[in-house]
Symmetry: C2
Subunit: 697 residues, 2 copies
């Protein structure tokens, strides 16, 4: 996919590779990046490249909504049944939860509206039935959700409660007289809100409400609730009695989705339609659940829906890749300002341009490998192969850490790419603004990024506290704990290494600049930072356990920013570890060498970003810290000849990028302009410049 | 404008002010912020609050374009003639260049499309005639540009050349036989591109082209060129012969503007329509100019159009303020997760939320005061009162420094505000996504931010070099230079203080944490950083002067990122200085105290962001550096009770914010929900929670 012009541009540059055999094996790397389910990925990528599924920027929001639903019907009609990968074989699915998410994350290249509306239908509405329902309920309700006979909404979030789902206001009160639940929205803040499919297309919803029976509130449960009539042609008719709602109207992006609000007044739901896997009510109103603790029950239910976060992580990384591929391909052709010779310089040859784009290429690779690992973990749990409580918890923590990191990364990257393409980047025909607008809310739905980071950090602090508690029961235990923390070099399940590096390397000659390229040095620096931050926060939070509520709140408040920072450091480590592990599966030496530089860029820019921390914690000497930026800059220069190859390896074709500036048009224009000037010079008809004349005088 | 609910929210918080007299005098501060032309500002803000000029989110792009033109016609018809403030009195203008830009920057609150289309018409097309034309040309061409008889495009940028205007490809070749210039677009890359008004409405354009006469290319000049027929109803008809073009199509924002491309084939322009203030051609083709140096002539022409940058700076600050006002008002009402008591916590009481929003409030204030100072400088030059070459150069440098900083700040802030408002932030009804999409390209037009930063840095390095050169001519000069650099505490015109602080404060007990709040400490830290960075880059670049082209390019490349960093540091200092100066004009003691904290937050977060630099350059001891973050956090907590007041003082009413979540609706919903639960508890009918039951057991 690298055009002749790219090659020319690269050889123009002072930094072109010495010989062809130093180049990346783009095909081989691309193959590796297909991951664990290469055939599925390939099929899903081909689907995302099919014009039938592409975002049409010219549609009105109303037309876009209809088209998106139509596209989903076409997806159902496809022979490959890619949309049903996660559903049970007994109902036509393929029982492949990991492959399903891998495919889903490719769909972002077609149209994020299509991706998210499909996600609402199959990944939320359908998944709620699958994961919260009994086998009987699955058999009864899933087929219509799968084949779109029943388009559905996932009615969890309320206007008044998003992040804090446990506090939603909707009630489902059991009435033993009729064996029904009565669904009510007691106040405006309890309206369900922001729900995809709810404004127009959904004829049913999985509604989360406080289950009340016999005067006891058993907390949040999910109910299957028809909300609209289905008309003769299969489309959604008016609301059913007791159901109301409104359209959320225009949004900053994802305008192909009909988000809306719903409310309920005395809507009667048959007892059988409480999705009853984790809690059921007997005819007389007696509640029972396989999970005794209401808290654990709630988190188990929510945890069964973790796939949303996993799939957004992969999607965000893909979106960032698309932006980077566009900006790098354009940057490799675009010229501006005269360089040392006669020609204008390719903008990718500017140090500022490399700084804007290359560390983000590295981070996209890190995010890619981390998502592959997350998919593995997800498949382990949801295929049932290794479905343990510990794995579920690890999965949830890792998903929260990566989703909150990658969605923020994607937005930042798309913006940088937009600006790096100048005015051309602002045109819809060059894709980036459209993609960014659609991705915006990925930072919020399926868990607000800040709230997710806190969740991750609390888990890390909790782990630390449990280990400490266990250890300190005896002097021997305490000693073991200390030794383990010092020596354990093995990767913790969630990637948190137990490494202390209490001794700073101040003055240590072995810690010279060159050591920064050493993987072990990077690992230690990244891992130590997580461990130390967690330890510091844990220690700072300890007094809160025995403090009065107000004082406890103050202590938590004082450490909240540090909690979020620790979670981010953890995500950095996870990604670095995943990248480093992946290096060992690259066989081509040149590719592995270049990819090692890319990994180094990721690791060292993370360290560079947090250099203050390393300095203040005595982990890096001033002398060594001073070398970091210079070393990164040298690495970026070294990567320059490989930039186009690195983005080509992601495997997106023109049918995925769909940006005129990344199509080779810019190189054609440059060639035409240069040919014009050359011809004019050769003809002798070129005007002399006044500047040149004055210099002569 | 602070509602009762805000007050309640604030008093709920642990951080409420002790007594009423500690509160900010919102009215007084608001008055102060109106600046040098309060009446004009007030009128312009009222106009921006007028629904006739508001962005209508429901329009199609085609309808939006028509409406924007219509709004401009209404603006012309207004009695206040706010749009003509900058034009000469002799043609109905008011000759008030500074007030004009102050008013222009308020228009962003109405609709950025309207603002920028008005900017194209009066601030670019009209301004080109005004500043590049002779009095005769002004008299002949300006009136129709002013009253919209001739909607115009500003045809400078080409597809192939944006930042490097000197290299545009369009040619204007003089033909003495007919006393005309022949305008040509020699290749596709030389098409004019991204021009507002060009796709549909413009009937003329100010076209920049290489002026060629008698075989000599005199560089870029501007020509007045009719491009479309004017139809009987006054609207634009088809292209005139030789002119062609196309629509830029959809954009990421500003969809109310018809951006497009233009090209020319043998279009004949009368000799009289070369805008001839800085260069003219006699009938026989002899070129003459009041400025002998082609380079200086070019930069003088471009510099006369600096107002675009000045006005975008103020507009970007205003857009950021709107986003912050929405997010802060919502955050002061929105509750999520139970706090220490029974009630859920107001989200503005979370440390993470304060960290997201408050430093940006401080930066918006800093940006506001810096823009006021920039407007002063602009008015000084363009009113003719102090129009010296030095002032022009300072104006251009300061405008470039601030525009590149504030537009980036606005985008970052609007995104943070969007996310801080959660899913609600993504709805168009809450404004932020729409505003952000429109502001996106402010980072690119009127000068790409990265290119502008380099321009600023080169100027600073040049100044340094000149001083050094002058100084080193004699030993006495050198000594004076050194002393001046060490002792000069007066503000340099462009805000760059000549302060060296070669001695680090390591171990100095006077430099304890408390000193960070001292203005002189902040000033020294900020100014020293700029001076040192400039000096370092200047020294690093010196070998380039005598190096071969390729080596010189390599040296420049190696220092390019540092150049950009130095420019940003300079902008930080400019803003801090402007903020600090403004404090002295605040009379109310409580207001001044709170605003001093706000200034401290700005200064200290800038220092915090660059802490690595301060540590590695020995400007802060580890001990002192460690106190920065904690001190900032305490300041943010201290500002909590004043947050709503601080955004209210910006003087935007509901008619400017136009966000449902900032209208008090959230507080109403919260009150309703709490009333519901209170009533239910009082009635004795509230269900008992399973959790509570299990705890009892």
């Amino acid at each position: 996919m690298t055009t002749t012009s790219d090659r020319t541009a690269q050889h123009d540059s002072a930094t072109s590779p010495g010989s062809a055999d130093e180049r990346i094996d783009v095909g081989g790397l691309s193959e590796l990046l297909l991951g664990r389910w290469p055939e599925h990925r390939r099929a899903a990528r081909a689907r995302a490249g099919d014009p039938r599924f592409h975002k049409d920027e010219t549609l009105t929001p109303a037309e876009h909504r209809e088209r998106t639903l139509e596209q989903m019907r076409e997806m159902v009609a496809e022979e490959d049944k890619l949309s049903w990968l996660a559903f049970p074989e007994r109902m036509g699915g393929l029982d492949q939860p990991g492959a399903n998410l891998a495919c889903f994350s490719e769909l972002v290249a077609a149209d994020p509206s299509l991706q998210i509306k499909a996600g609402v239908q199959w990944g939320l509405f359908g998944a709620a039935i699958l994961h919260l329902g009994t086998p009987e309920q699955q058999d009864r309700l899933l087929p219509a959700a799968m084949d779109l006979t029943v388009p559905g909404a996932f009615a969890m979030t309320e206007t008044g409660h998003g992040s804090d789902v446990a506090s939603i206001g909707t009630t489902a009160t059991y009435d033993p007289a009729t064996e029904e639940f009565v669904l009510d929205t007691p106040f405006r803040g309890a309206w369900k809100d922001y729900l995809g499919n709810a404004a127009q297309h959904a004829t049913a919803a999985t509604v989360f409400a406080q289950l009340i029976t016999n005067g006891v509130d058993h907390g949040v449960h999910c109910f299957y609730v028809p909300i609209r009539e289905t008309l003769a042609d299969g489309s959604a008719g008016p609301f059913l009695p007791g159901v109301g709602g409104e359209d959320d109207g225009l949004k900053g992006g994802l305008r192909g989705i009909d988000n809306g609000r719903l409310h309920f007044s005395g809507v009667r739901v048959p007892r059988a339609d409480l999705l009853a896997r984790y809690g059921s009510v007997a005819p007389d109103g007696t509640y029972s659940s396989p999970i005794d603790s209401p808290g654990r029950r709630f988190f188990t239910m929510l945890g069964s829906l973790v796939q949303g976060r996993v799939s957004l992580d992969g999607s965000a990384v893909n979106a960032a890749k698309i932006g980077l591929a566009i900006a790098v391909k354009y940057g490799a052709e675009r010229r501006q300002f005269a360089g040392p010779g006669v020609d204008e310089m390719v903008i990718l040859d500017y140090a500022t341009h490399r700084r804007r784009l290359f560390p983000r290429i590295a981070e996209a690779y890190a995010g890619h490998f981390a998502n592959e690992r997350l998919l593995d973990l997800f498949d382990d749990v949801f295929s049932g192969e290794h479905d343990t409580p510990e794995n579920r918890e690890d999965l949830e923590t890792t998903a929260a850490a990566l989703k909150s990191t990658s969605t923020a990364f994607a937005l930042d990257t798309l913006q940088e790419c937009r600006e790096a393409c100048g005015g051309a980047g602002f045109l819809t025909e060059n894709r980036i603004t459209s993609l960014r607008a659609d991705l915006d809310v990925y930072a919020t739905f399926e868990g607000d990024n800040t709230v997710l980071a806190q969740l991750v950090a609390k888990r890390l602090v909790g782990d630390y506290g449990r280990e400490l508690k266990g250890a300190t029961k005896s002097p021997a235990g305490m000693a073991r704990f200390v030794v383990e923390r010092a020596a354990d070099a093995a990767l913790h399940r969630t990637g948190l290494r137990r490494v202390t590096q209490a001794l700073a390397d101040v003055g240590d000659p072995r810690r010279a600049a060159g050591h920064l390229r050493d993987a072990e040095t990077q690992r230690e620096l990244l891992a130590d930072r997580v461990a130390t931050m967690v330890e510091e926060v844990a220690m700072a939070l300890r007094p809160a356990q025995k403090a009065a509520p107000a004082e406890a709140a103050r202590i938590l408040d004082e450490n909240q920013v540090a909690l979020v920072e620790a979670a981010r450091a953890h995500a950095d480590l996870l990604r670095w570890e995943a990248f480093t592990d992946a290096l060992s599966s690259i066989e081509d030496p040149a590719t592995r060498r270049v990819m090692t530089w890319v990994r180094d860029v990721f690791g060292l820019t993370v360290i560079e970003r947090n250099l203050t921390w390393y300095l203040l914690h005595g982990r890096l000497s001033d002398q060594r810290a001073r070398t970091v930026t210079g070393y990164v800059d040298r690495l970026l220069l070294r990567l320059r000849p490989h930039a186009v190859d690195l983005v080509d390896a992601w495997g997106f074709g023109q049918e995925h990028l769909r940006a005129k500036i990344a199509s080779g048009a810019e190189a054609e224009r440059q060639d035409e302009a240069r040919a014009y000037y050359a011809t004019r010079r050769a003809s002798g008809a070129a005007p002399v410049s006044e500047k040149a004349l004055k210099k002569k005088r």
